[in-house]
């Protein structure tokens, strides 16, 4: 047993947040550095700061990172991931998890492509169960319809929402664990996508569609290209369709989350389901709509990816789960529910895309990259716990 005299308490430990901040001021003055670190760590913009520091630091070692072409390219990598991560953010806030987003992307990508593709070649696709009935050499289901792309896109969004709705229905009505339900959906729908296409990529997508993934609204001319490693056009997209679509979705989601009754009810369910039920929150309906939204977001991401790649990809999203959840958690959304923001997810996605960019620039093997991703996500989860601990200390000692 030690004595009282040798006990030294670190000053930062007891510094208060919020209402008690005044009382903690004297202690804060005692160690300004710790207090500053604490404030940065607890800031909503922590991940943004980290991303910027990371970017500047890494650019010193890998000059290609800050080349305009690379920046533009990384931004285009962000948008589909942002769209799908926004849906995951909603699900995590209500204390759930959606593992099926990747397979929703696969199935919607394939279904959309099979609706509006202009050409399919027999030797690759005659193994598909739809060959000869719905699809043939002349292309997809609605290949000859002038509004094929519109119908296709609507079908993709509708299908994504429907799968999400099914997840939500199974979770609320049968009281099954979200992990289980969405795991089954993940396996089922990715298998279904492979079956429909006989595991082939569907190419020949109309330009009306691919423009959604590549089209620019405002581009910037940045002079002739400097570094041959990065293949890029001389004119770089500045404001692109994918950006408008993903940011529009994120802004709408942000407003729903922070300004509407629905958003408040989501946080309430994620914080305490029983209190919410006693207080008359229609938790079943909210949960179902949130999973539906998650499926919808995955479908939006599928549109952006498929249009950018110009193909319907039955394996789309199969390796994306870690990225989605990683970006969301890094953005400060808690896996325990009741906490999270679209803004945070935006920063998380930026951080994650930058991280991948750096890892690629380091020319690491894909296995090492995956391992690093895993470690970073673990650190993000640890950060979440450290932050809540700091906040709790401030509130109740």
């Amino acid at each position: 047993m030690s004595t009282i005299d040798d006990r030294v308490q670190p000053a930062a430990v007891n510094i208060a947040l919020g209402p008690q901040a005044g009382a903690g001021a004297s202690q804060r003055a005692a160690n300004p550095l710790l207090a500053f670190l604490r404030r940065v760590l607890l800031s909503d913009y922590f991940i943004l700061y980290l991303t910027l520091v990371f970017f500047v630091g890494a650019s010193a070692f890998f000059p290609t990172l800050s080349a305009p072409g690379n920046i533009s390219n990384q931004f285009s990598n962000m948008w589909p991931l942002l769209a799908v991560a926004v849906g995951q953010t909603f699900v995590l806030i209500i204390g759930g998890i959606d593992l099926s987003q990747g397979s929703v992307m696969a199935i919607t990508s394939v279904v959309g492509a099979l609706i509006f593709t202009q050409v399919l070649d027999a030797p690759t696709f005659d193994k598909s169960p739809l060959w000869g009935t719905l699809i043939n050499e002349q292309g997809g289901i609605l290949a000859s319809n002038p509004n094929a792309v519109l119908f296709g896109v609507l079908a993709m969004l509708g299908l994504g929402a429907l799968i999400g709705l099914w997840n939500g229905f199974a979770i609320t009505r049968f009281r099954m664990a979200p992990f289980m339900v969405t795991l089954v959906s993940m396996i089922f729908f990715s298998a279904f996508a492979l079956w429909l296409t006989a595991s082939r990529n569907v190419s020949g997508l109309p330009e009306d569609f691919t423009r959604l993934g590549t089209g620019d609204i405002i581009s910037v001319y940045l002079g002739p290209k400097l570094t041959p490693e990065i293949p890029r056009r001389e004119i770089l997209p500045f404001i692109s369709y994918p950006m408008v679509i993903a940011v529009g979705l994120a802004v709408a989601a942000h407003i729903i989350l922070t300004r509407t009754v629905f958003g408040r009810q989501m946080f309430s369910i994620g914080t305490n389901r029983r209190t919410s039920q006693v207080s008359g929150v229609p938790s079943g309906r909210v949960v179902m709509l949130v999973y539906m939204f998650s499926g919808f977001c995955a479908a939006v991401a599928a549109i952006l990816y498929s249009a950018r790649l110009g193909i319907g990809l039955p394996s789309l999203g199969s390796n994306l789960l870690l990225d989605i959840i990683g970006a969301t958690v890094i953005g400060g959304t808690s896996l325990f529910g009741g906490k999270g923001s679209v803004k945070g997810t935006f920063f998380g996605v930026a951080f994650f895309v930058l991280l991948l960019n750096i890892l690629n620039a380091m020319r690491l093997s894909p296995f090492v990259i995956d391992a690093v991703k895993g470690v970073v996500i673990l650190l993000a989860a640890l950060l979440d716990i450290t932050r809540s601990r700091l906040i709790n200390r401030g509130v109740r000692a």
Partner: protein, 506 residues
């Protein structure tokens, strides 16, 4: 008498506010020290200092003649100080014996062939169970025990660990009268065997009854520390609150009207409640008294639409319903203050304003479901002010940072905002201090005076007798007696609750 633990000028501040200020007390072998004080008076901090959860800013402790400065709960454990909390720390999925030996089983054999010595485990468990008067098999799983029995198992564990100081923090909250009596009997026996005990409780009569010495804390300071014989309940209260309370209950300012707001007709659910008939009138405070397991909470949950019932109907303002949901109940202006604030009443991590607004969220919706945040905050703060909620900024401060009494006010404020006419309150004063209780009682009176009906469920008979116009007694799922104010009599009501002749009265 030899001193077991002595604190000398213990002081501990949080954020510059002293939670414990210069507290010097001691407890000796063969003594029960009663420690009382309002919530936030510093009792818990004092216990946390003794338990090594937090360390003092100044002052020191002497334990069995040696300087004692625990840096962690493990140090307190090693020093053989046992804590028995309101929330029990037993593993319900393990047996009694496993719980008692959790910190280390006696073993036989060596190396990889080390086996738990089951015979010794059983034998020793039976010994300590006998010592606390529990006639149960050591192999019984803890989740099959009643709260009272679990409490005794905790004490048995303390005995097994040969604790010299046993600290009991609100141990009787979930116990029946009989179980409480039994606990006291065992505490007295332990005292006579030379243990030192510290007993913390909000039930002043119990403290007066069992303690040899009483210490009263207020705002972190020790305001009285004298032999129990020097106190009576009134003096204890005035020392705790720092002023004298003329009465424990506010005078009722209204009489019940004629209109029936809520009627239950033959509500039954097999094994839970049977044929419950009840009428709640306008302006009436109707008490529902019953022991643990009498079906009172279950009935309330059914009426509010949280649990299903099998037959019968609920009539709200003349409309009969076969089944209902929480949302429908809220729309018919019913409110339900549940017995568990933390689990069912509050969103602990969320700010006070959003907690208060939760039930009435749809009211604040404007075009596109967008919330009128300013109106929400205005409404929430006026509800908070009406109840004299003591808090900082309600938009920032999370509910969990409030004291028990103020948390309960948040729950009540939440329901007030939906302007209910039927108020179901299940144990609304549990675990809150005298001052906050009085405020809750005043709110109940005001609700009745404004024409609402209040269904006041409680296991504290005294408060029901103090506040209600009428009391119905539930026992084993049935209504087993009804008393109007003129007929209130503790003995008769308890007899109904215990079903005369079958139970031993306290």
């Amino acid at each position: 008498m030899t001193t077991v633990l002595e604190t000398r000028g213990l002081t501990k501040s949080f954020f510059g506010v002293a939670a414990v200020k210069d507290v010097s007390i001691k407890v000796s072998r063969g003594e029960i020290l009663g420690l009382i004080g309002q919530n936030g008076a510093g009792k818990s901090t004092l216990m946390n200092l003794i338990g090594g959860v937090v360390q003092p800013d100044s002052g020191e402790m002497v334990y069995q003649g040696q300087r004692y400065a625990p840096r962690s709960p493990a140090d307190a454990n090693a020093a053989r100080i046992a804590f028995i909390h309101q929330e029990l720390n037993l593993f319900t999925n393990l047996t009694i014996a496993e719980n008692i030996f959790i910190e280390g089983f006696p073993t036989r054999g060596r190396g990889p062939f080390q086996f738990v010595d089951r015979a010794t485990v059983r034998h020793r468990t039976r010994e300590v169970l006998d010592a606390v008067g529990l006639d149960l098999s050591p192999d019984m799983q803890v989740d099959r025990l009643s709260p009272g029995e679990r409490q005794l198992v905790e004490i048995a564990k303390a005995l097994y660990l040969d604790a010299s100081l046993i600290i009991l923090d609100e141990p009787t909250t979930s116990l029946t009268t009989r179980e409480t009596e039994k606990l006291f009997e065992i505490m007295r026996r332990l005292r006579d065997q030379g243990k030192a005990l510290i007993y913390i409780s909000h039930i002043l009569a119990d403290v007066l009854n069992i303690a040899d010495t009483i210490a009263i804390m207020r705002d972190g300071e020790l305001v009285a520390y004298e032999p129990a014989a020097n106190f009576d309940v009134n003096r204890m209260i005035s020392l705790m609150v720092g002023r004298s309370i003329e009465q424990l209950y506010p005078p009722r300012t209204s009489r019940p009207g004629r209109d029936v707001l809520l009627e239950l007709r033959g509500i039954s659910a097999k094994g839970i409640v049977e044929n419950i008939n009840l009428k709640l009138r306008q302006g009436e405070v109707l008490g529902v008294f019953g022991l643990m397991g009498s079906g009172r909470t279950e009935l309330a949950r059914m009426v509010f639409g949280l649990d299903p019932f099998e037959s019968g109907e609920i009539v709200i303002n003349g409309t009969p319903l076969k089944r209902t949901t929480a949302r429908r109940s809220i729309n018919s202006r019913m409110a339900f203050v549940t017995e568990n604030r933390r689990e069912e009443g509050l969103l602990m991590n969320i700010n006070i304003a959003d907690n208060i607004a939760l039930v009435s969220l749809p009211q604040f919706a404007r075009a596109l479901m967008l919330i009128d945040q300013r109106e929400l905050v205005d409404s929430a703060s006026s509800a908070a002010n009406a109840l004299q909620l003591k808090s900082g900024n309600i938009v920032v401060q999370p509910a969990k940072s409030l004291s028990g009494g103020n948390q309960q006010k948040v729950v009540v404020a939440k329901w007030l905002l939906s302007q209910p006419t039927i108020f179901i309150m299940d144990e609304p004063t549990r675990g809150i201090d005298v001052g906050a209780k009085y405020e809750i009682y005043s709110i109940i009176d005001q609700l009745a005076a404004s024409g609402s009906g209040v269904l006041f469920i409680s296991s504290e008979l005294e408060e029901l007798m103090g506040m209600c116009d009428r009391i119905v007694v539930m026992s084993r799922g049935e209504i087993y007696g009804e008393f109007t104010r003129e007929q209130f009599n503790e003995k008769d009501i308890l007899q109904a609750a215990f079903r005369e002749g079958e139970g031993v009265l306290a």
